[in-house]
């Protein structure tokens, strides 16, 4: 018999939602991604592509446009007609403002970053001034007949191009009047389609406008004369997105067939200065529509309905051919969606709008190493808990004893008490939550299930005492004065004495739960924390960072352990450092404190490489639970892609 009994759980029917837009910020090297359920995620490309922040979605908010303005400020606009700004420190929405033009289809920040332009359903283009703490409506441009689907500023800020249905308009920003109207050909491979939707436009500094449309064309227009210069037919389906590099020497387009095409500005001959746009490489990393693309200085970024976020590095721009130069595909969120009750062998799965509670199956059979054991009792779906309201669940947790479930949305915090009577379960909501417990970024129960730790988005940490069916607020650790940074990771020691909390950038704070005071702060590291845990007995805090470094910090001694120092001196194995998915969970072997179990999205140490692993934990010293999610199952649940004839079939 092997060392562990492994439960391979495959009944977590999690489907990430499709990607709608991406926006790349050159200053901070961060990428903002919005999904069809309204979730907005921030990826730090410098920190090993780690998803450091996320804003939960909302049913009524379909984000159609996302842009960075004035340096680090993030704006989004959607079909509910509102423009929103996100607070990247406190991780909440600063404000939402109605543009009064019907659903917003497009948004673009001016090259200087001080103005914001939105294109609306009613054909109006509205200019907003960005003030330090808000945005202010400035004026309307000439109203067009149909919805404005795409917008682009001329780099000088004097003109804009707006893509609509069947035509592209060029506006003069000063006067707000349309200078040119360029009609797009409806012909599609000789057949006249009903309408030609201009999905994207890009205005280059030399006055060229590049448009992509639903007839599969990429067209180059001269904005001075309003004439078509060149047309490339690249797809049999819609071309849905375009992004131009800052140097304007290359751009990328994404099609509904899942292909991403790269165009480059190439000299016609070596000894002439004449240059031409040439379609170069096609990339087929998606199975479904590529809804959005972005062009960072070194990579092409694409995302679409198939929920993958793909980073395709440009080989000629990469200086060193290390692991950064490899293709990256991000499918799963970099946080835990699963919690587990060790005592009752329960798993709590978190979905966007509901929670599922499952009891693991059990077996009486024994076998050799690598055997698949037959189940004597199948896994049970115990509970399906739907949230109220349109907001997505931010976080959830089940207590180790299995009798408490807590989850939170943006505006409400829920705590439930579970009662087990033989096979029946009864659920009772604990009412009258205190007013300060409105929303939580992270929830954690102590090992003995008597305490509940809640990291709220105001930066405070609350400790709640649970006893029987009631609760009592014990203490709140307020953030240090002046900082509003939200804590998003928590870890508690098994003996319940220590609580570690980490924010998005600053160091890890360790609190003494008994004395209710800050014990120490682990020195800040360059890369964000992806997972942490406190070891039993020794009370060593193990911290994993997004660059795959692992530190061990002794809480009682307030210093790094000898092991951590030697490891840092020797360095990790290069294969370990080259892994591109962050460690999302850490656990310990109860009998062997020397062993640390780590897992990321694809790997648990070295056991399983083939299937995406969402969660892994030890139930007891002999049993391991692993939750897997095969990619094929996700694809099977997506809408069917555009049918393409495959040669030889």
């Amino acid at each position: 018999m092997g060392e562990f009994k492994v439960h391979r759980v495959r009944f977590f029917n999690y489907v990430p939602s499709g990607i709608r837009c991406v926006a790349y910020n050159n200053q901070s090297n961060r990428l903002a991604v919005s999904r069809t359920d309204g979730t907005v995620e921030i990826y730090n490309l410098s920190a090993n592509y780690f998803q450091e922040k996320f804003f939960p979605g909302h049913e009524s908010r379909a984000t159609e446009a996302l842009c960075w303005a004035e340096g680090q400020r993030l704006f989004s606009a959607g079909l509910n007609g509102e423009i929103m700004e996100y607070d990247l420190q406190a991780l909440n929405i600063k404000y939402a403002m109605d543009a009064f033009g019907g659903p917003i289809w497009s948004m673009a920040a001016s090259p200087s970053g001080s103005q914001l332009l939105v294109g609306c359903e009613d054909g109006s283009v509205k200019l907003f001034q960005i003030t330090p703490d808000k945005i202010q409506f400035e004026r309307n441009f000439d109203r067009q007949k149909s919805r404005i689907l795409s917008l682009s500023w001329h780099p000088s800020g004097t003109h804009i191009a707006a893509g609509s249905i069947d035509y592209i308009s060029v506006f003069d920003v000063k006067s707000g009047s349309a200078v040119h109207k360029m009609i797009v050909d409806r012909q599609y491979m000789g057949v006249s389609k009903r309408k030609c939707i201009v999905w994207g436009v890009a205005f280059l500094s030399d006055g060229t406008i590049i448009s992509v449309d639903s007839a599969g064309k990429v067209q180059f227009w001269d904005s001075a004369t309003g004439t078509l210069v060149k047309s490339h037919l690249i797809a049999n389906a819609d071309v849905q997105s375009i992004a131009v590099a800052d140097q304007e020497d290359s751009f990328v387009v994404g099609t509904a067939e899942g292909t991403v095409f790269h165009f480059q500005l190439v000299p016609v001959t070596s000894n002439s200065s004449e240059k031409q746009w040439v379609r170069t490489k096609p990339f087929q990393h998606h199975t479904h529509d590529v809804r959005t693309v972005a062009h960072s200085p070194t990579a092409l970024i694409s995302g679409g309905t198939d929920t993958h976020l793909v980073f395709r590095p440009l080989m000629e721009k990469v200086e060193v051919k290390n692991y950064d130069a490899a293709l990256r595909k991000i499918t799963f969120p970099h946080r835990c969606l699963i919690s587990c009750s060790k005592k009752r062998q329960l798993l709590l799965f978190q979905f966007a709008h509901h929670l599922e509670l499952w009891r693991l199956g059990s077996t009486v059979a024994t076998g050799k190493n690598g055997d698949t054991l037959p189940l004597s009792k199948n896994a049970d779906h115990l509970l399906h808990l739907k949230t109220k309201g349109p907001e997505n669940i931010i976080c959830s947790c089940i207590s180790p004893c299995g009798s408490w479930i807590a989850y939170s949305t943006v505006s409400r915090f829920f705590l439930y008490r579970l009662n087990y009577e033989h096979d029946n379960i009864s659920l009772k909501r604990v009412s009258k939550m205190p007013a300060f417990l409105r929303s939580a970024l992270q929830i954690l129960f102590s090992e003995d299930s008597t305490k509940l730790f809640v990291a709220s988005n105001q930066g405070a940490l609350h400790i709640v005492q649970l006893s029987g069916g009631s609760f009592k607020h014990l203490h709140a650790f307020q953030p240090q004065s002046g900082t509003v940074e939200a804590m998003c990771l928590l870890a508690v020691s098994p003996d319940g004495n220590w609580l570690a909390a980490s924010g998005t950038s600053a160091g890890v704070h360790v609190y003494n739960v008994k004395q209710l005071k800050l014990h120490c702060t682990v020195p800040a590291y360059n890369f964000p924390v992806t997972a942490m845990a406190i070891a039993p007995n020794t009370n060593n805090l193990v911290i994993a960072h997004s660059d795959q470094q692992v530190f061990e910090y002794s809480i009682p001694d307030k210093q790094y352990t000898d092991w951590s120092r030697t490891v840092q001196k020797q360095g990790f194995h290069h294969l370990w450092l080259q892994r591109d998915t962050p460690i999302t969970h850490i656990s310990f072997h109860p009998k062997r404190p020397m062993h640390i179990l780590l897992h990321d999205a694809y790997m648990f140490c070295i056991i399983d490489k083939s299937l995406p692993l969402l969660f892994m934990d030890l139930l007891d010293e002999r049993t391991l639970v692993a939750v897997e999610r095969p990619l094929d199952d996700i694809i099977a649940q997506l809408p069917p892609p555009i049918k393409k004839k495959k040669f030889g079939t």
Partner: protein
């Protein structure tokens, strides 16, 4: 009478036209292609061969137009020479001796004094040229190494700024100005996805810096920005499912042409994947694509030895078809009694009729009449046997397809010659004429036979006699073939059958036994058994030797039986591979196979001693042979060559080269009509032209006669060679007008006595020589006049001599004369 030299084995046409890319002339009027040791010049309009440029002593491997004079053509060969031709007149202008085997040739307008060749050390070299007639080119400079020998893998781009070469997984680009090489590598076969990434061909855009490369997996990559090892970029075009065989850009570079095994010419417009045009059903794999410099024509060379000329709008306009050598030959070599054309397997499912005299395919006869699906591993219907009967009135063909041991599909078709349509028309189709493969097929070709008779022998142990019977019904009169008799002998497999010359006897061999049957009553007359192995070949003697029957066995014994005495006349130990009787004499040719090579024996059945033996005719196995009756009998007196008087023997080796025996030296043998045509060029050489040309000649002759009668020597401009040459020589090879003027006037002068005219200049010459030798330049003029007038009056001496050569010649002459004077 022909002077008798040694009999030599010579290639007789049928050489590959598709060995290298064809080249268009600047005006697209002519197309040039290499053909064995020759370069052939075809008219693009009429498909006729206008000239054959001969002079190379080995395979011609490359041709290119002279970029500085588009009326000249360079060719290079494995014999280590580069020759410059005037292709309109078919004249060799210069020969450059390089000395090593040349595999391909490239010319560039920008590199005026040099051409590029690929030599065996796998390096293209530069070679400067001087202007004398025959020059040794020694100054070679290496440009690139580690390249492929095929010229498809080298391309010059952007007016000679760079050269691109591909090999395996590498693309190398050499920049002449910077003298640097960039090399780009594709991921190799270790990765399964890129297993067939190998480069197969390369082409360069005429105006932009863009290189197109073809690949094994059917992809075309367009490379740009290749000045930088890092910033280079490429894009893919993918339509071909199999290897891309060749690529070519149109003259303006707006479209790219590609072709491969799909037999479809693909035109990629603006180098975009979505914008492409096709010319499908070209018949066979496209091996090469070339584009005319004028841009109005394309041409594709195909694996079935065919060149298709295609208009810019992708319409095939002309087909130049050589001997199809694509596949294995089952039918053997036959002679169509009507056209005297060589008949053998051609395109899949077709019989080809190939004219040996004009080295040209006459036509294809579709036998199987089914769409040919070109796919690897598919078992096709094969045309296995064919025979002509009744002086070309009937043709019998057998086709079979055997997928498994037990599943045999067999069909015999009988075709009747239709005088109206001048072609064969299917008369009778017989499904499964035998239970097993048909091994032999022969018609009774006796003159007196009143009823066409066909005999088939099969492995199922039977031979069947088929006769033509009346098949008329109330609707129409018709004839058809039916089985008349089935014979067998102890269930042995029938392997061969053969009618005697008069048609009275039929010999059928059953494995080791030969049976003789009476063709009237179908009675078994007698049997011969030699116990010397299975009979491989069987034939009756002819004319005076018709009482003999010959059989060659697999154990290497050749037997001759006397039919009168029913006894073995003689036998000889000879491993006979091919045995063919000459239809015009008693001679029989046998080719034996040994480990060293093949030997030819010619003998008469009446005597066991061979008439003629030629050892080592070919290193490879000889597969088939045939006697072709001569139109005009030769008259060799020597006994050894007499067998070649009435017929010529052709044979086909395993590598499908068609060879024959000849006594003439190659220079003599090649007396095509080109030289006669030379004087009357300008007209395209069509069949009409031949008719009209002859007609005109006759008229001229008549005219001459009448003129001679009527007038006193009024010079006809047409008849004065000096004038006709002046008028018909291309302008660019003519000497200066000042020189021509006096010659022209001289020729118009009425010379009363030609003899005196001839003598006078000689006198002058001698006088001049006495005067002084310093005034060369003055003398030049007069002497040249004399020279040309001499040649004009004389028969045919080469008249286009450069000044330096003329001087040299004159010196020689002067030396001669002084020597005479001294005497």
């Amino acid at each position: 009478m022909v002077e008798e030299e040694n009999i030599r084995v010579v290639r007789c046409g049928g050489s590959e036209l598709n060995f290298r890319r064809a080249v268009f002339s600047a005006d697209s009027k002519y197309i040039f292609c290499v053909s064995g040791d020759f370069v052939k010049v075809y008219s693009t309009v009429t498909e006729e061969c206008v000239h054959i440029l001969h002079g190379h002593r080995n395979l011609v491997t490359g041709i290119q137009l002279n970029p500085n004079n588009h009326l000249q053509l360079y060719s290079c060969s494995l014999d280590g020479t580069i020759k410059l031709w005037d292709y309109i007149d078919g004249i060799l202008i210069k020969t450059f001796i390089v000395g090593c085997k040349l595999h391909a040739l490239f010319t560039l307008a920008q590199a005026e004094d040099s051409v590029f060749v690929i030599v065996n050390k796998e390096k293209p070299v530069k070679l400067p040229k001087s202007s004398s007639q025959e020059v040794e080119a020694k100054e070679l400079s290496f440009v690139l190494d580690y390249i492929n020998q095929s010229p498809k893998c080298i391309a010059f781009g952007n007016e000679g700024v760079y050269v691109a070469a591909v090999r395996e997984f590498y693309l190398s680009v050499y920049f002449f100005k910077k003298k640097t090489t960039s090399r780009f590598t594709l991921s190799s076969s270790r990765n399964k996805k890129h297993a067939k990434n190998n480069f197969t061909c390369v082409a360069c855009h005429p105006t932009e810096d863009c290189i197109a490369s073809g690949h094994m997996d059917g992809k075309i990559r367009l490379w740009r920005n290749f000045y930088d090892d890092k910033k280079y970029t490429y894009t893919c075009l993918h339509w071909h499912h199999d290897m891309v065989m060749d690529l070519a850009f149109s003259v303006t570079g707006t479209s790219l042409l590609s072709g491969g095994r799909e037999s479809v010419l693909v035109e990629w417009r603006d180098a975009t994947e979505k914008n492409k045009e096709f010319l499908p059903r070209l018949g066979a794999t496209i091996e090469h694509i070339s584009v005319s410099p004028a841009g109005d024509l394309f041409c594709t060379s195909h694996s079935d030895n065919k060149i298709i000329i295609i208009h810019r709008n992708l319409e095939a306009s002309a087909v130049i078809q050589g001997l199809v050598k694509d596949r294995s030959i089952f039918t053997g070599l036959m002679i169509d009694p009507r056209t005297k054309a060589l008949v053998l397997n051609g395109k899949p499912g077709h019989l080809q009729f190939y004219s040996l005299q004009s080295d040209k395919q006459l036509y294809n006869l579709d036998i199987i009449q089914q769409e040919y699906i070109n796919d690897y591993g598919l078992i096709q219907i094969e045309l296995t046997k064919a025979a002509f009967g009744c002086f070309g009135n009937w043709l019998a063909t057998v086709e079979q397809r055997q997928e498994k041991e037990t599943e045999l599909e067999l069909q015999m078709k009988l075709w009747m010659y239709n005088k109206k349509t001048q072609g064969f028309i299917l008369n009778t189709k017989i499904n499964m004429p035998h239970e097993d493969c048909i091994t032999a097929l022969c018609f009774c070709n006796a003159e007196k036979s009143e009823q066409p008779t066909l005999v088939t022998a099969s492995k199922d142990g039977y031979f069947k006699v088929w006769i033509l019977t009346d098949d008329s019904d109330i609707y129409k009169k018709a004839v058809g073939w039916t089985c008349d008799f089935v014979g067998s002998y102890h269930k042995y497999q029938a392997t061969n059958c053969c009618f005697s010359e008069d048609g009275s006897l039929l010999a059928v061999s059953f494995e080791e036994i030969v049976t003789i049957w009476d063709s009237v009553t179908w009675e078994l007359k007698c049997t011969f058994c030699q116990r010397a192995g299975k009979i491989r070949h069987l034939c009756f003697g002819r004319l005076t030797c018709s009482k003999y029957l010959l059989g060659a066995t697999e154990n290497g014994i050749l037997c001759c039986w006397n039919l009168l005495s029913c006894a073995l006349e003689w036998n000889a130990k000879l491993n006979v591979r091919v045995m063919e009787p000459d239809p015009n004499s008693e001679n029989i040719a046998a080719i034996s196979q040994s480990s060293v090579g093949s030997d030819l024996f010619v003998f008469k059945p009446s005597e066991p001693r061979p008439l003629y033996i030629q050892k080592g005719i070919s290193r490879e196995k000889v597969q088939w042979g045939v006697f072709v009756p001569r139109d005009v009998p030769e008259s060799f007196t020597s006994e050894a060559y007499q067998w070649l008087n009435r017929s010529q023997f052709y044979f086909l080796t395993k590598s499908q080269s068609l060879l024959t025996f000849s006594t003439k030296s190659p220079e003599e043998k090649l007396t095509p009509t080109s030289k006669q045509l030379l004087a009357e060029e300008s007209l395209p050489t069509t069949p009409f032209y031949f008719i009209l040309g002859k007609h005109r000649q006759q008229q001229d002759e008549k005219l001459n006669e009448t003129l001679e009668n009527e007038l006193v020597q009024l010079p006809l401009t047409e008849n004065i060679p000096a004038i006709s040459e002046l008028l018909h020589t291309p302008a660019h090879v003519l000497p200066s007008a000042a020189f021509l003027c006096s010659m022209f006037v001289n020729s118009l002068l009425l010379s009363k006595e030609t003899k005196s005219a001839k003598e006078i200049p000689e006198d002058v010459d001698m006088e001049e020589e006495k005067e002084s030798e310093d005034s060369d330049e003055e003398n030049d003029f007069t002497e040249k006049v004399q020279d040309t007038s001499n040649t004009g009056l004389g028969e045919d001496i080469i008249h286009q001599l450069s000044k330096s050569e003329e001087k040299e010649l004159r010196k020689f002459r002067k030396i001669d004369y002084s020597w005479i004077a001294a005497l």
